[in-house]
Amino acid sequence: MSKITRTVRCMAALAAVALLATGCSSGVTSKPAVTFPKANKSITMIVPFAPGGLTDISARVLAPALADELGVTVEVVNKPGASSQIGLTGLSQSKPDGYTFGYTLLPTTPNAYLDPARKAAFDADSFIGFANYFSTPIVAVVNKDSKFKTVADLVAAAKANPAKVSVGTGALGGPADMGRVLLEQSTGIQFANVQFDGGGPTNVALLGGHIDAAFSSVPEVLQYVKSGQSRVLGVMSAEEVSLLPGAKTFKSEGFDLTMASTGVISVPAGTPKAIVERLSEATRVAMETAEVIKKADELGFLLQYMTPDEVAKEWAASEEQVRSIRAAGGK
């Protein structure tokens, strides 16, 4: 036993000497913390959604590029459930040392903590968004055999049969869900809403004909549209998306609605500023690599980097939007 205590004391002494030697830098200097990330440690990227969906795929595209830039392994960990609430809770509880970060998508995240029934263990102050990765508009899709041809068709059917037209959306309070709510509120209709654990299972259910329509995002539906298994009714963006040729915007049909999933990546609150900036810079560089650009284009998401300050603004705006939707009676 004394051997151990002696070893511990030696180590402690060595560590103290090392600390003194490197100077007591508390991260206030503008130079990024040079000891982050340490060579042997690996980084965990939490994806609060089921495998196969947009965020999961996008994370697996970014992770290797980030790993290259930071020099350590970046491991993607799925923590799905309760529309990202489980993963977000886990993220907010993680050590704010920069070795764990994850997706805090907008508007999914504000929806989680602004809804009192969900008793979220976190709020906007639990996270520091260090970068934005992508922005993808929401699309309304149907099975190739569906009788709906346009968004107007869908709305008409819902008007005629309130709460009968089944619409699948991914995460509760996620962008697809909000897209559906926006459409419902602006036209005064009501769908039969079915919650799935993310875009993956939603599209599967649509292909199997178990739901009438689905709100999903561009990357999640891309391969099914390309192969002809499903069809786009409309895209909730300002302009047409090049990856979905021929797909009309909601606006062009008279429904002036836009909704997108904004891929903000955050660390838990309390992470030192220097690490936040290092991560942000690393993300920016990773997003500019040829590999990521190519994959993003193939998969269908728009790269849109934002600095931590820009992220904060975007977050506040999203919170506003969610609040106004909730106030108007939607969930």
């Binding site: 495998p51 196969g52 999961d56 290797p64 989680a112 809403n193 079915v194 799935f196």
Partner: protein, 498 residues
């Protein structure tokens, strides 16, 4: 069909190239190793290896990653049989009879029948992939929430078949499993259940720590209490009894069927086929009482089922681009990274590569068989280590395994707590199998039920609106009825005797 064979042969040529062969071998080795280590699953390993693999040629890297996926099913068996510690959720069932076989000196036979069954199941499932991929994948799509519910309900009715001596105790076990699984955030409404404000509990209680505790830790606690009975039987392991293995043919056949069919349904998970196979074997057996004390069919069936499942579950990924589980999603990421998009376009745009990968599954299964069979004496030799040393090592592995899941001490605590629970279960003769079954199935059943009702907005007729769900519901009803009438008859006989 002959077209498929042509393509397959072409693919085989590519798969037999030295580089691809080596990667298949590495994948099998890694997969087995990863499966052996409790808690460290193929998902994390595959994910970690994708960037490394991306530097090699696409076919080779995907071959390797797939080999890890189905190879892990072979490895998980070893710790279940030898140490009663399931490395994966799917291996839990093997503990029930596999470990009992080991305790009775039949470890070598248990390991051998697992290897053989796994090979058969995996190979036949791959044939299914070759010839039936496209037509069968549409089966996968017919399973919506309502059909899923009916399927899982049918799986639950097997709980009653796992009852054993006391029905009360079996039901208590089953209820506890379902209650444990309900801790956490409600999957449909997002309401926290039984979390008592603890953020750890919000994540729910993980399956793997629970199973490792119930089986592995409780076994250690029991053995520490009674060290005498850890001596002789384990040291004298008889040689592999090939004749007994040959007699398990029907079980292997049934296991292949169960695993393959369930592999086509996305989202089922690897554990469900093993439970269903176990329940099935017990039901059709002439001596159901042997189950739980080392019935070889209880090992042959589930082990075949889980490999058939692993290979078959790749079908929805290939044919439709639908990943059925986390590991498959990682695999899908690997495909994407390498420029191959799984789905109907895969066979159109990259047919040669796709067939090469499929051909490699056959090769991989052969590798695994060849790797695992000769190693059996080596694995069995582990049992010769004095238990007083061995259990320390098992504990270390278990602790690492539990911690490795989420880097959370909570999981170790859960494992420990359930070790105590399992210890008491054993002393009180409460069966573990029902708890494991409901632990996994009950939350899936609940989610499927409520999703279905979301689609139909409360209209229960959705459950009888498709042939698949009607058939499954009828089967469930029949199973329950058969069981109830058998119980009533037995009780009647009891009261008559008294």
């Amino acid at each position: 069909m002959s077209e498929s064979i042509e393509f397959l042969l072409q693919g085989l040529q590519i798969a037999l190239r030295p580089e691809n062969l080596i990667f298949a071998l590495i994948g099998c080795l890694l997969g087995t190793m990863v499966g052996v280590l409790p808690g460290i699953g193929p998902t994390a390993t595959t994910a970690m290896l994708i960037p490394i693999a991306a530097t090699f040629n696409p076919v080779a890297s995907i071959i390797m990653l797939c080999a890890i996926y189905y190879g892990a099913q072979y490895g998980g068996t070893i710790t279940s049989i030898l140490l009663n510690t399931p490395g994966e959720v799917a291996s839990a069932v093997t503990c029930l009879d596999g470990y009992q076989m080991a305790k009775r000196g039949r470890a070598a036979t248990a390991l051998a029948v697992s290897a053989v069954g796994s090979f058969v199941g995996g190979t036949i499932a791959t044939f299914g992939l070759v010839f039936l991929a496209l037509p069968l994948s549409s089966v996968a799509l017919r399973f919506g929430p309502a059909e899923f519910f009916a399927l899982l309900l049918f799986g639950l009715t097997l709980v009653v078949g796992l009852a054993g001596k006391s029905l009360k105790l079996a039901f208590i076990s089953a209820l506890l499993g379902a209650l444990i699984a309900s801790v956490g955030i409600d999957p449909v409404l997002g309401e926290p259940r039984f979390t008592f404000g603890s953020t750890q509990l919000l994540n729910g209680i993980g399956f793997i720590p629970v199973l490792m505790g119930l089986f592995g830790i409780s076994e250690i606690l029991t053995n520490v209490k009674n060290p005498e009975q850890m001596s002789s039987p384990l040291k004298q392991t008889e040689r592999t009894n090939w004749r007994a293995i040959a007699k398990t043919g029907p079980s292997i056949a049934r296991g292949t069927g169960v695993g393959f069919l369930l592999g086509l349904v996305p989202g089922v998970g690897a554990a469900v086929p093993t439970f269903i196979s176990y329940g099935l074997e017990k039901k059709v057996s002439k001596f159901p009482g042997r189950f739980g004390s080392g019935a070889i069919e209880g090992v042959a069936g589930p082990e075949t089922a889980n490999n058939a499942y692993a290979n078959a579950s790749i079908i929805p990924l290939f044919a439709l681009g639908i990943p059925a589980s986390a590991t498959l999603a990682v695999l899908m990421g690997a495909f994407l990274q390498n420029g191959l998009t799984p789905g109907p376009l895969l066979f159109v745009e990259h047919a040669d590569l796709a067939w090469a990968i499929i051909a490699s599954f056959f090769i991989g299964n052969v590798f695994l068989l060849v790797l695992n069979l000769p190693l059996i004496p080596a694995w069995v030799a582990i049992l010769k280590i004095p238990y007083s040393l061995l259990y320390g090592v098992i504990l270390v592995f278990s602790i690492v395994g539990a911690y490795a899941l989420r880097s959370d001490i909570f999981d170790i605590a859960v494992m420990l707590a359930f070790g105590v629970v399992g210890y008491w279960f054993k002393r009180l003769d409460i069966p573990l199998a029902p708890l494991c079954l409901t632990l996994i199935l009950a939350p899936m059943v609940e989610k499927a039920l409520r999703q279905s009702l979301s689609v139909s907005q409360g209209d229960p007729s959705i459950f009888i609106s498709s042939p698949i769900s009607i058939v499954l519901l009828l089967l469930s009803g029949t199973a329950i009825y058969a069981f109830v009438s058998k119980t009533v008859r037995t009780e009647h006989r009891v009261s008559v005797d008294e």
